[in-house]
């Protein structure tokens, strides 16, 4: 039987790696899929072209299917995420100038979100002008992570600091020319800022919220309903790519593949930093972040409905959507653990029994109930010690409304 061609869009970011490996390493072919990978120039384009059907599937920011399904986007189209492209991968990078000011205010340079945020708060309190930070899209994990970090550090986004939107590849240049003072983005664009613009990585997603999801495979709900077998094939191909990518002996090859001009168009040494977790965070200072990007371990590809609801809680927090039981239901319905389990059952892969989990309460690895074998989850703390219990969503949202 000839392979089924699927058009799949991605942005030049390290966390497109599982999509790329699915094609390059034959995991898609094993499923009878031939992925036509299209590198896009903006999240807006991925959003719009996926909505009108130019792309069958696409790398998306985890909140994007929610935004499309909640009608926040220009071409509102019900969209789902049946598989996650890994945990982590983002960082917050600041200019050399701002880092010096933060270090003077006691930032220890160990990537820990708490002390770095406290130092930034002191810099902002003393700054004669409003600092400006860049994120990649309005309904992006980056926007919510940056805001969460700032707010929990006593900095009120929009009032104390300006947040602007730029596509990932333009952020290092914007930092270098003084247009922005810092940014939150996925790799390799933090390391490129360090290498080319003398920037400094202040903290990482893995420190703000451990084991948190970032990119997903998004697809129109209507398309998924029409092609359930293709959906299962995509999930399995991504899952197997995740296993391959999590093997340290494959990191060098994965970095070489991703470094190609058609994908990231960057040096494989820079690309490899996110895979190995060994970072030059600025000025040659090396830090190890073993959980910086997690492509497989800890059910990294499982779309937790509770995670969809966490992004929904942040959309509410920052005034993008009105809190209502109906909206919460739409948000939770965007993540599809049911489709994930259906796809993986035939290959005997371990999948969580639950659709929801509490985050922020587990400082150490733990096993969770699962189908087909044991699942060990990584720690899932928020840096400010808060607990997110999806069963108490309204309380969580209300508590954040009064914060800062």
């Amino acid at each position: 039987m000839p392979d089924t061609h699927l058009t799949a869009a991605f942005l030049p970011l390290l966390d497109s790696v599982l999509l790329v490996l699915a094609q390059e390493k034959g995991f898609a072919a094993e499923e009878g899929l031939d992925l036509h990978l299209v590198r896009e120039t903006s999240w807006a384009n991925i959003r719009d072209r996926a909505a009108i059907g130019h792309f069958d599937i696409a790398q998306m920011l985890a909140p994007m299917p929610l935004a499309a399904s909640l009608g926040l986007t220009p071409i509102a189209t019900p969209t789902i995420a049946p598989v996650v492209l890994g945990l982590g991968n983002n960082a917050i990078t600041v200019s050399a100038h701002l880092w010096k000011a933060m270090a003077d205010q006691g930032a220890p340079g160990d990537l820990a979100a708490g002390p770095a945020g406290a130092a930034l708060a002191r810099v902002i309190a003393a700054s004669p002008r409003k600092l400006r930070f860049g994120v990649v899209h309005q309904t992006s994990s980056h926007n919510y992570e940056l805001r969460y970090w700032l707010a929990a550090s006593g900095i009120m986004p929009d009032r104390d600091i300006e947040i602007v939107v730029l596509p990932p590849p333009l952020l290092p240049d914007a930092l270098g020319t003084g247009g922005i003072d810092g940014y939150c983005v996925g790799e390799p664009w933090n390391s490129i800022g360090v290498a080319t613009r003398g920037a400094h990585i202040a903290t990482v997603k893995a420190s703000i919220w451990q084991s948190s999801p970032d990119k997903v495979i998004g697809m129109r709900t209507a398309w998924a309903e029409k092609h359930p077998d293709l959906v299962s094939s995509v999930i399995r191909a991504i899952y197997r790519a995740g296993i391959w990518c999590s093997d340290p002996t494959n990191h060098a090859e994965a970095a070489r593949i991703m470094a190609a001009p058609t994908y990231l168009d960057a040096s494989s040494e820079i690309v490899s930093r996110a895979l190995t977790g060994r970072f030059d965070i600025g000025g040659g200072s090396i830090r190890l972040v073993p959980d910086h990007f997690v492509p497989h371990a800890g059910a990294a590809n499982f779309p937790w409905k509770s995670h969809a609801l966490w992004y929904y809680s942040q959309m509410v927090r920052w005034g993008q959507v009105v809190a209502s039981p109906a909206n919460a239901a739409i948000a939770a319905a965007c993540f599809r653990p049911d489709l994930y389990r259906i796809a993986l059952a035939p290959i005997g892969a371990a999948t969580p029994v639950a659709d929801y989990k509490t985050d922020g309460a587990h400082p150490a690895p733990r096993t969770i109930p699962s189908h087909d074998g044991a699942l060990t989850m990584g720690p899932d703390l928020f840096f400010d010690g808060r607990v997110y219990d999806p069963d108490a969503l309204d309380t969580y949202i209300a508590s954040q409304r009064h914060a800062v």
């Binding site: 120039t41 903006s42 999240w43 807006a44 384009n45 719009d48 072209r49 009108i52 130019h54 220009p74 071409i75 509102a76 990649v136 899209h137 309005q138 602007v164 939107v165 730029l166 596509p167 590849p169 333009l170 247009g179």
Partner: protein, 196 residues
């Protein structure tokens, strides 16, 4: 024209294409047309332009930035929707195919905006055609130069007449089932490696 005249903003880093669209809109009787080449300028000028319709190149990487400016803008408090009407699938398809993205102030009647978008789409398509034709002409010129070079090499090294050199290139290409320009390219590369 029913209703007050629409203010149209064109955002395009490609100055030639921007002026082609601007001309088209002016010819169609629109006088409130502003052109901006960098999305960053929008933040400064949006208050004075107060656009009803915004046309931007779909490949512009700063579309996310533009949408963010809209959300901050006090002058465009009403939400901005892409394209005329979410239900108009054919129009959306045509626009995206052409590489046009458009934002329209909510509440504008479809009949008023459709001709503007039709114009933008057809001018985008015309520009792409023009670019393709230019590219083709340029590569044909490059091909001819390569073949001339290869002919020269054969004439010098094998002491052939121009006509014989050309015939040799052509017969080699035919025998190997390759294009003449590819044979010429191989010959020029090889000659460069072998030295004078």
């Amino acid at each position: 024209m029913p209703g007050p005249e629409l203010s149209i903003l064109i955002i395009d880093e490609n100055r030639i294409r921007a002026s082609i669209i601007e001309d088209g809109l002016r010819e169609a009787g629109h006088s409130l047309v502003a052109v901006i080449h960098d999305v960053n300028e929008v933040a400064r000028s949006i208050q004075s332009i107060l656009p009803d319709v915004i046309v931007i190149d779909l490949e512009n990487p700063k579309r996310d930035t533009l949408e963010h400016f809209f959300s901050l803008s006090r002058s465009i408090q009403r939400p901005i929707a892409m394209f005329v009407d979410r239900s108009d699938g054919a129009m959306i398809e045509k626009a995206v195919e052409a590489g046009v993205s458009a934002y329209v102030v909510d509440g504008l009647r479809k009949e008023r905006v459709k001709p503007i978008l039709d114009m933008a789409i057809s001018r985008f398509n015309a520009f792409s055609r023009l670019t393709r034709e230019l590219e083709q002409a340029r590569s044909e010129l490059e091909d001819r130069k390569l073949i001339e070079q290869a002919k020269g090499i054969l004439m010098r090294t094998r002491n052939l007449s121009e006509a014989d050199a050309y015939a040799l290139l052509r017969s080699t290409a035919m025998n190997q089932n390759r294009r003449m320009v590819d044979i010429a390219q191989s010959l020029v590369t090889a000659a460069a490696m072998l030295g004078p």
